[in-house]
Structures are given as C-alpha cells and as structure tokens.
C-alpha cells in the first residue's frame, strides 16, 4: 500500500482519498399488499473510487435493492447516501434523472436493449440526453463499439446478436457517457460459461485500464472472483467484517 516510513524524511500527513460512494445507516422497506417488508436495515458502507466490488448474498438478501439505491433508481427510507460528494437521496426526481444520465452506466442481466434499435442506435441512446451534434455522437459511438469489439456489427438488431454480443453492446452503452460509476446487476446471469468469462474480463479491463468504479451484484462465485472487493449481504444486513480487499 504505502511506502514504509523512512525516519530520515519528514513525513507529510497522508489522508486517504474520500470514498466515491459513502453510505451511512441506509434503510429501505417495501409495501407488499398490507404488509411492510424490510429489505435493508442499517447499511453502512464505503466504496472507493476505482474499486471493483461484488455484492453477494442469497436471494432476498437485498443486494439488488442496495444496487438500485446507489444507482439512483430507487430512494432509501432513511440514511445518508453520498455519491461523488452528492447526497442523491435529497435530489428531486428530475435532477436525479439528470444525475443518472451523467454519472451512472447500467448493465442488466437481460441486457435491456431496445429491440427496435440497432446496436449503434442502442449505444447512441444515452447521448440523446446531451447536446452533442450527430457527428460528435457518431465519433463516440464508433469508438466505444470498437472498444468492445463490435464495430462490424453496428447495424445489427439485438435479435441478430448472441447473448454475449448483446451484453457487450450494453457495456458500450454503459460507457458512452463516461460515467463515474458502472452498476451491473447479474451481468453474466443469462450467459453461457465462455461468454460470461469474456464479459467479466471486459469489466476487469474497464476497471484497471479506464479506472471505472464498478459495483456488481452477483450470486455466482465465479463472477465474484473477477472483482477486487467483496461484500456479503444476508437478510438486509451487511455481514460483519466482510469487506475483503484484494491486491490490484
């Protein structure tokens, strides 16, 4: 981590960089019919910038809910949720949408591509929220599709692509706005072994080469191995002392 203390050099105080995501005492419940079901209770967690963290836990543990909260597509009932220094739980809805557009890239288990749009158009979609010209958009889309290795399939529709290819299009879409945070909910859940491996390798490269912070929910241990940090959730609570770091 840090260099060993040298008695001969005057030491400057080293403050660790502020975490990208800072969560304090987060709680969330849902209403199912007449019942109120608690999903998350008193979650506190820090996620450093540049980390690749896997949220694991059995079904119903609240891991997806936590992901949704961090990504800004759901609101906590109580607690503090700072992302990049901004308390997103306080943002009004319209601002939250703008915030997501600028800071979050999404990768879903079932890719969530628009079936009536080509790969190119799917990747271009988030840019429609910006003021870029058509030429500028084209430049970025082609670059990002090149990065995921699908430059030659730009004009294909999702139905004409394999599962692995569709997920790569989704990754390209997640990258296109150069977001602060990439959230992935079971990204390999619908892929065969080989495609899954490819996708996980790609996510790793995004993390190490581009410095993207990635938060991934998975129940697959193989997928979790690709991540740097690991957090376990069970019945809405973080299991104690489980934030395992790993060497880069």
């Amino acid at each position: 981590m840090s260099a060993p203390l040298d008695p001969s050099t005057p030491s400057a105080p080293v403050t660790p960089p502020a975490p990208l995501v800072s969560i304090r005492h987060l709680a969330k419940s849902y209403q199912r019919g007449a019942q109120i079901v608690p999903v998350l209770s008193d979650i506190s967690l820090d996620i450093a910038a540049g980390d690749f963290i896997a949220l694991m836990g059995p079904s119903g543990s609240g891991k997806s809910t936590l992901l949704n909260l961090i990504a800004g597509i759901d609101r906590p009932d109580s607690g503090e949720l700072l992302v990049g220094g901004v308390d997103i739980s306080e943002l009004p809805e319209a601002s939250l949408a703008d915030w997501r557009a600028a800071h979050v890239g999404f990768i879903f288990q079932f890719y969530n591509l628009m079936p009536v749009l080509t790969a190119y158009e799917n990747v271009e979609l988030p840019l429609m929220l910006t003021r870029l010209s058509r030429a500028e958009r084209r430049e970025r889309v082609e670059m990002v599709l090149g990065m995921v290795g699908l430059a030659d399939r730009m004009d294909h529709y999702p139905t004409e692509l394999s599962g692995g290819q569709q997920q790569r299009v989704a990754i390209a879409r997640a990258l296109i706005t150069d977001p602060t945070l990439i959230v992935a909910d079971e990204p390999t859940g619908d892929l065969d072994r080989n495609s899954a491996t490819d996708i996980l390798a790609m996510l790793q490269r995004l993390n190490t080469d581009l410095g993207k912070t990635i938060i991934m929910v998975t129940h697959d241990a193989h997928a979790a191995e690709a991540a740097k940090s690991l957090v376990h959730l069970e019945k809405g609570e973080l299991l104690q002392g489980e934030q395992r770091g790993r060497e880069a």
């Binding site: 597509i73 809805e93 997501r100 557009a101 999404f106 628009m114 158009e121 929220l129």
Partner: protein, 388 residues
C-alpha cells in the same frame, strides 16, 4: 423530442397487425368525417358559384323561392325600365323574364320520379350567365318547343339525349343541346323559351326576373327603389346570394348530421386507440424502466408515447383520406328541402379539408393515447425493470 423518433416509429411498425386494426378503425371515422366535409364543400360550391355577381334576381315579396313567386307582365316591364339596368349594344335592357316550374322525371336506375327544374328564359337569359357553356348541340330557337339540358341531368337521366323528346304540359319538347354550368345549380336544370313554356303551362305571370346591373355598386339603391315602388310588390337579391340562401337548410342539415355522426364514431375509434396504446405500454414496461434508468425524464417518456399515439392517428388519417378522395368521382343528388327541386352536387376535396381531416385524426390518436402515455410516464423504475 429527446427520445428518438425512429425508436417511436419503429415500435408502431413492429406491432403491425394491431396498428393496422386500430388505424383501420380511425380511418373509417376519418372517411365519414372527410366525406361530410367534402359534401358540404361541394354543396357550397354548387350554390355559391351559381350566378353572377352583377346579376340581380327579383321575386315577389314574401316568396323565398322562385317556385313560390309570381311577377306580372306589367311589373316585368317596369323593372326592365329601371336606369340601373345595363343595356346591350343594341340598346335593349339586359334582362331575362323567367318562369320556373318543376316536373317529374325518373332518374336512371330509380323507380320513383324526382322533381326537376324547368326554367323558361328570355333570349338574353343564356348570355346573362357567362358560366353556362354549351357542350353539345345548340341553344333552343326562341319561339320553338326546343329545350337544352344541364350536364348533371344529362348524366343522371337516360331520356334526355340530343334528339330525345320529353312530354309535358301537353307538348313534346325536343332536346337540342346540353350545357355545362361549371358545377353550379344550373347543371340540374332544363332551359327553354319562357313564352313557349308559359303558354304550355298556362301561366300568365313569370316566376322571377334576372337583371344585369350596369354598375355593381348600384345594387343597394336598386333594392331600396324597388322596395318603395308602388307598382311593384317585389324584392331583389344579388343572384349569388339568392341561390346561396336557398341551400341554408340543406347545408345546415348536412353539417349537423355529419358532425353528430363523426362525434359518435370518433369516440368508438378513440376507445380503440386507447386499448392499443395501453397494450403498447404494457408490452414495453421493461424498456420504459430502462429508459428511465438511463436518465430519460418522465416527460420524455410521456412525449414518446403521445407521439406514438399521434402517429397512429396520422396513419389512420392518411388511409381514410385516400379513400375519401375516391369519392370525388361520385356525385350526389338530393331534393333541396327549400326549393323542392332535385339538386346534384359533387364531393369537393380542398386543401383546407385535407388539413382539417389530418388534424382531426391526429387529435383522435392523441386523446385516445393520453391516459396510457400518462401511465407509462408514471411507472416506478424498479418495478418496471423487474416486470420483464
């Protein structure tokens, strides 16, 4: 329109069958709507274009139509002498004494007869209406039992070809010509010599007089002069105004009928659009969730579905309009309630009607699609993403 148009349009195309059925329902309503508008436009054109601006029609006071009116020979002579009346180069007043009667003729393909207008005109009568042009044969000779037939009659009735004889008022009348009056009311009339016709029908008074004003501004003075003239019990109207007034009841009837029918039908079609749009939203809940996650606002989603609904309306509108435009080849004839005479007119498609119709169909789509679009915009992101 942040959400791209091609996304919206392609979704309409992707659900082709549903789009076709819904647009089909809308198209039918549009067809009825456009046809009614075209019918009214055709009626107005027929009547408004009937007559000349500088011609004045004089009838008896209190009579609304020529059929009800009577003008004696003395009154006719007095009217011709008015200074406001234009003169021919030979020095004769440009006036036509006219007698209008109705006879029964049977249309081709019908068993019950219709009332057809026979108009006796003076020698100048034809030239007073420059819009009337001879298309076949020649004008009747003054003093003869010859008649000429308007183009609508020539088309709709089989027994009025050149050389045919019509028998009425105890005489045989020979058709010697056909004329075209530019789609005006005269196309539904038969013209002949006024004195011969009056003799045959044993009438002693004319129905009306048509006079050409020397100066178009002289009309108001002419009208008041006639009003106070003790010899006359007549009133005057500009020829175009006269004929336009005679269609008011028919025009109002067509408009009210059309409006009522269209309103009822449009509700049914809008229900169809609503059902379709609700299903469209329901099928794409996952996509809506994704769009919102990506950062599109609720209003963006609302707009996208509203535009989809409007597109649906537009497709229906174009289809209905295309079918309605085919009606231009048909003609419509009915008895004008006010004059009791059979009147033929066409379906007229104007640019204004095209615009009105398309706006109407898009509005139907919009109204039908509003609640579903609202629902789409109000979806909860997490629930929507989970729903797929």
């Amino acid at each position: 329109m942040v959400i791209p148009l091609h996304y919206i349009a392609r979704n309409v195309w992707a659900r082709r069958l549903t789009t076709a059925l819904t647009a089909g329902g809308l198209a039918l309503v549009v067809f009825v709507f456009a046809t009614m508008l075209m019918l009214d436009a055709g009626l107005k054109q027929t009547l408004v274009t009937t007559g000349e601006r500088d011609n004045v029609v004089v009838i008896r006071k209190g009579a609304e139509t020529e059929i009800q009116s009577a003008i004696s020979r003395d009154q006719a002579a007095a009217l011709e002498m008015y200074p406001s009346i234009a003169m021919t180069p030979e020095g004769r007043p440009m006036a036509s004494r006219e007698a209008v009667v109705l006879i029964s003729l049977t249309k081709t393909g019908y068993t019950t007869p219709s009332n057809v207008v026979i108009r006796g005109v003076s020698p100048l009568g034809v030239s007073l209406r420059p819009q009337v042009r001879l298309t076949e044969g020649r004008v009747f000779k003054p003093g003869s039992s010859e008649i000429i037939v308007g183009s609508s009659l020539a088309k709709g009735y089989g027994n009025v070809r050149i050389g045919d004889h019509l028998r009425f008022a105890q005489r045989d009348w020979t058709v010697v010509g056909h004329f075209d009056a530019g789609g005006s009311g005269f196309d539904s009339e038969i013209w002949g010599d006024v004195d011969q016709l009056m003799q045959s029908f044993r009438r002693t008074s004319y129905s009306s007089m048509v006079l050409r004003l020397a100066n178009t501004d002289a009309f108001d003075k002419f009208r008041t002069d006639i009003d106070v003239d003790p010899r006359l019990a007549n009133e005057a109207k500009r020829e175009q105004q006269f004929y336009s007034d005679q269609s008011k009841a028919l025009s109002a009837f067509i408009n009210i009928l059309g409006l009522t029918l269209t309103t009822i039908f449009s509700v049914a079609a809008m229900i169809g659009a609503m059902i379709t749009m609700y299903a469209s939203v329901a099928n794409r809940v996952g996509e809506i969730g994704t769009l919102r996650a990506l950062g599109f606002q609720r209003t963006n989603v609302l707009m996208a579905f509203l535009i989809e609904a409007v597109l649906l309306g537009l497709v229906g509108g174009i289809a209905g309009l295309l079918c309605a435009s085919l009606m231009q080849f048909a003609s419509f004839s009915t008895t004008n309630f006010q004059t009791f005479a059979d009147l033929s007119f066409r379906f007229l498609l104007t640019p204004a009607i095209i615009v009105k119709t398309l706006l109407f169909s898009m509005a139907m789509g919009l109204i039908g699609g509003f609640l579903p679009a609202l629902r789409a915009s109000r979806l909860n992101i997490v629930d929507a993403l989970r729903a797929r």
